[in-house]
Symmetry: D3
Subunit: 235 residues, 6 copies
Amino acid sequence: MKIMVINPNTSSSMTEHLRKVLEERKRPDTQLSVVNPEHGPLTIESAFEESWATVNMLGLVKKANQDGFDGIIIACFSDPGLRASREISDIPVFGIMETSLHIACMLGSRFTIITNRRERVPHKVQQVHELGLGNFLASVRPLNLSVQETDSNPQVAKRRIMEVSRSAVEEDGAEVIVLGCAGMAGYEEEIEKELKVAVLDPSTVTLKFAEALAEIGLRHSKLGLFARPPEKEFK
Amino acid sequence: MKIMVINPNTSSSMTEHLRKVLEERKRPDTQLSVVNPEHGPLTIESAFEESWATVNMLGLVKKANQDGFDGIIIACFSDPGLRASREISDIPVFGIMETSLHIACMLGSRFTIITNRRERVPHKVQQVHELGLGNFLASVRPLNLSVQETDSNPQVAKRRIMEVSRSAVEEDGAEVIVLGCAGMAGYEEEIEKELKVAVLDPSTVTLKFAEALAEIGLRHSKLGLFARPPEKEFK
Amino acid sequence: MKIMVINPNTSSSMTEHLRKVLEERKRPDTQLSVVNPEHGPLTIESAFEESWATVNMLGLVKKANQDGFDGIIIACFSDPGLRASREISDIPVFGIMETSLHIACMLGSRFTIITNRRERVPHKVQQVHELGLGNFLASVRPLNLSVQETDSNPQVAKRRIMEVSRSAVEEDGAEVIVLGCAGMAGYEEEIEKELKVAVLDPSTVTLKFAEALAEIGLRHSKLGLFARPPEKEFK
Amino acid sequence: MKIMVINPNTSSSMTEHLRKVLEERKRPDTQLSVVNPEHGPLTIESAFEESWATVNMLGLVKKANQDGFDGIIIACFSDPGLRASREISDIPVFGIMETSLHIACMLGSRFTIITNRRERVPHKVQQVHELGLGNFLASVRPLNLSVQETDSNPQVAKRRIMEVSRSAVEEDGAEVIVLGCAGMAGYEEEIEKELKVAVLDPSTVTLKFAEALAEIGLRHSKLGLFARPPEKEFK
Amino acid sequence: MKIMVINPNTSSSMTEHLRKVLEERKRPDTQLSVVNPEHGPLTIESAFEESWATVNMLGLVKKANQDGFDGIIIACFSDPGLRASREISDIPVFGIMETSLHIACMLGSRFTIITNRRERVPHKVQQVHELGLGNFLASVRPLNLSVQETDSNPQVAKRRIMEVSRSAVEEDGAEVIVLGCAGMAGYEEEIEKELKVAVLDPSTVTLKFAEALAEIGLRHSKLGLFARPPEKEFK
Amino acid sequence: MKIMVINPNTSSSMTEHLRKVLEERKRPDTQLSVVNPEHGPLTIESAFEESWATVNMLGLVKKANQDGFDGIIIACFSDPGLRASREISDIPVFGIMETSLHIACMLGSRFTIITNRRERVPHKVQQVHELGLGNFLASVRPLNLSVQETDSNPQVAKRRIMEVSRSAVEEDGAEVIVLGCAGMAGYEEEIEKELKVAVLDPSTVTLKFAEALAEIGLRHSKLGLFARPPEKEFK
């Protein structure tokens, strides 16, 4: 089985980190291609940056379809370009936010998303409602660390993730923690042990989910929401 | 990996059918144990029957925990005993309704559930709302065939499933079809081809999902909704 | 008028307490039969225990139908077996949770449920949403006393109920307090006087409601959600 | 027990009809005072008319409080002046729409309201949503008979009510029918027998409910939504 | 363009204040007629007072229609009589609550309403839900100043508005502040500058909105919810 | 007042049409600049095309900010790039879908959106829910004419719009019609007269709304959902 994992930003160190994490967790018979677009923003922390990331990664989606891949994962916790990618793709496309949140719904009564910056909280809350999962949301809580700080300072990141998770459990009633940034992967087990919650690294669970669905050939409906765009002139 | 699949009714022919379908679809390294409780109703078409099925299968849940299983699937499309099972289990328990509906949400804009009897329609609609997924529901449509008729008369069943799916697409705007009864498995591909919708056999997708989650050791939170019941006297 | 009140657990002291409370509040012409099943859990604090309580009380539901009762009350604040009971009953069946919450909705803008154990909070929140009444919920707050402690230590129970009610009013905006455990009955008036909220003992209000509906012969629809299960084989 | 039933319009024939219906259904020990305001619209079929009916009936609410009544029923299926009445009343005030719809929610999975005029349908739908009960609504269907035609032509009214109820059941999935106009009372039993739905006459069920709550002295919270208005100057 | 602005209470000083504020903000070519009914409550802080205000202002609505006005604004932040006014009006009628809340929805992710008295908070929350905008609500927070205190003590009012706005931003996640009482107009800019939120004075934004819609002749649908009441006898 | 109207596609004939319509409806003192990006899709009928349109128009948003404009309108009925534009803009940005739907909510009880192609219906329904306005939606109905056919064949377009509007009113209960494609402008009055509904041309109402808000300097909150993206490297 061949899965393309697209890191939609242009940080090759994050792509590398993602590859390392996912290579360890893939099935033996899964072939991963972890890539990022050549152009676009170094990290994605706004709708503005999502827009640029989207158009830059659409070529990779097309390529995955041409090169016989069995599935595509968009590995940024705001699912940039998910709908557009599904429209132009015949193979299934998975967003790590959508996938991990639906899984979170099944593992406990309410989930908390941990995100990087305080300013992103309203955006995440909004996206949860747009996905139709507002009833399952305990809270969105910020680390108050930028994506790069999280990446470069794992000790601080880990301590903050633990603190924030504990507040989510004790003050917001969270039973599931979703690590809403690729850079947070790897701390799941410790938090689980300490707080008795379920903890999800979105990239990891989405990889397992993609493998599972790709194996049985399940695909998105092409009838309506994800119908292929009509051929048309571009200037 | 060892997965116990519990058919909560006592029809050994349905258990057999389920075993046959799932044995073909499991991963090579998955060991399936497909079982049904010794006592209880022959089929499950009411809350009354769900109650009896539940208490009769709880022993199997306990046994799966003792015998080193990695996950449990409750293979009846009303998820009888799902919450109780999770409370007494340290390994993950998957309901085929909950699992397949969350997956359906990701494959197109609205799903239709096909159920057996007309009288069950309000119950299914109710359950979708109780799961918090009412916004994703296109409709619940009955086959107007009993579980046993569906089982024993595959030609009629298949024709009816196709008719009902077509109505769901054309009249209710469904983009995803969920085959809401174990006996309907096996027709997915033909409907997909004919109607361009995504079609889910709940048992199959739940098996793949259970394998995926069990592989990475993801479990339900034991903090609140699924906390272990306190020890107590039974008369 | 003959009403059967079923305490679904097997604690005869709780059944006795319930009988005492309700005998004082019934209409003069109402004949109460307050009973509990012979077998099952001593108290009900989990879905697991609800399952066992349900199957053990279904015989009492059948008996009430045969013996010419006019209505049945399930007197446990999680309404175990309510749907199953309605399916097999031609006389109306009332759950004290469902009934008291609908009444609470009419007495003020938001209600708070007081429950026994902290672990049960997510379950109660979930049930309010499943009943479709999430918009009316101010909060669920725990006493942090077990059912048995509440029962055996009325002074402590009373003080805690008052404290928790006050927090519900001041912090959560509750205008109505629902005493979510049979053992809390009897403190309504004092809380009402002190806090100016409406306070409901679910068993009491459900008895009055059951008498009212039984008097005019109003029954559940048997068309769909509560249709009688088809005759079928049990093993 | 003394209950004041206020018909908020000024049609003394409707008041008479209401008195006749409710006198037959009250408890022996209930004293009914069925009244209408002296001034205001002859029937109520718009928000404009509701406004006038409201101010004209508020004096009756005050009088009921002064004269030692135990409860007040506002007997018009749009609950005009319900909130204002509760603010100025220390005894409980019941609206026949709010009360009957909450009861309808408990008798089956979805209810249909039958109203008089087609133009009123959006208003009723809106009110169900404002009450927070939109999830329980199957449909609102018009009789296409004015309040007066319904009143003066019982044969036609009865046939139309049966037709409309049948459509509600067969096309909208209704399991409960709410007769949304005082003039429709009296046909409940026949519809129930013919269609196997539950049928509610709002005035009747509200009377029984009011008797039940008044008996145990349960009242609206005066903390917030129904707090007494501050004393103030009127010009 | 001629716009009638109705202050539905009978405080001529508030009418005067409103006129002063709106005269400064109207378009040069707009003719304003700012009026209040002759009779009714001096201020409006309950549903009871809303009822009296409504019937007293309906004559002004009729007059605006007869005198060739292009639009009507009901300038009280609970929109008393809005639906009734629309029914009897052929020209558009705007409520300052409905209008300003829809606009608030577009200026940031969640809004907070500042109201005068603590007792009014549940009523405002209720109204936001009745308008169908509950998803956009961060909170309703009281000034704990009466309408008259706000009016007569601008320094205190301003300091309290700033404090409450800051709490709304920091504790409730508000991005938009709606000044829910006519007397609060004039402080918008300072709060905006200090807190970087959007701040709305409902009367001002409704005037601009009314001018905009009146200019292109857009009117309410008269098909259903706002259909003209049938001619009928009043006693 | 200077307003930039961005047609996000690259069809200069549609830009021309838009200019013509809006020039007639603008205030005398409004200066319009109606533009389209140089590059991108000729029409926008998918999320894929929205992505490309977005990045191509963001430069125009920046330019409007630099050139002293008072507001920006994105004139495509799927609001492509609305959030991104608001993030990078200090002047208010209006989407014609969001604006017209909020206005539609105030003009009658439910609205119907008319869109071009049947395949786009699920996307529109989805967007209404994402905007949080699902409760106000009667239906989305397709013309079954492409954007270009609508543009080039006004007679056919007009007849179809009337037919579809009539179905929306009679079958779906619509009281407001939103013409969900720029090419449909100009038929509002005729439909209004024939069907007594309110009819909105989104571009027109958004222009009037933008003028109204720009006049009083009301802007989007820059605190959270529309906070300016941090400076960062692009590759």
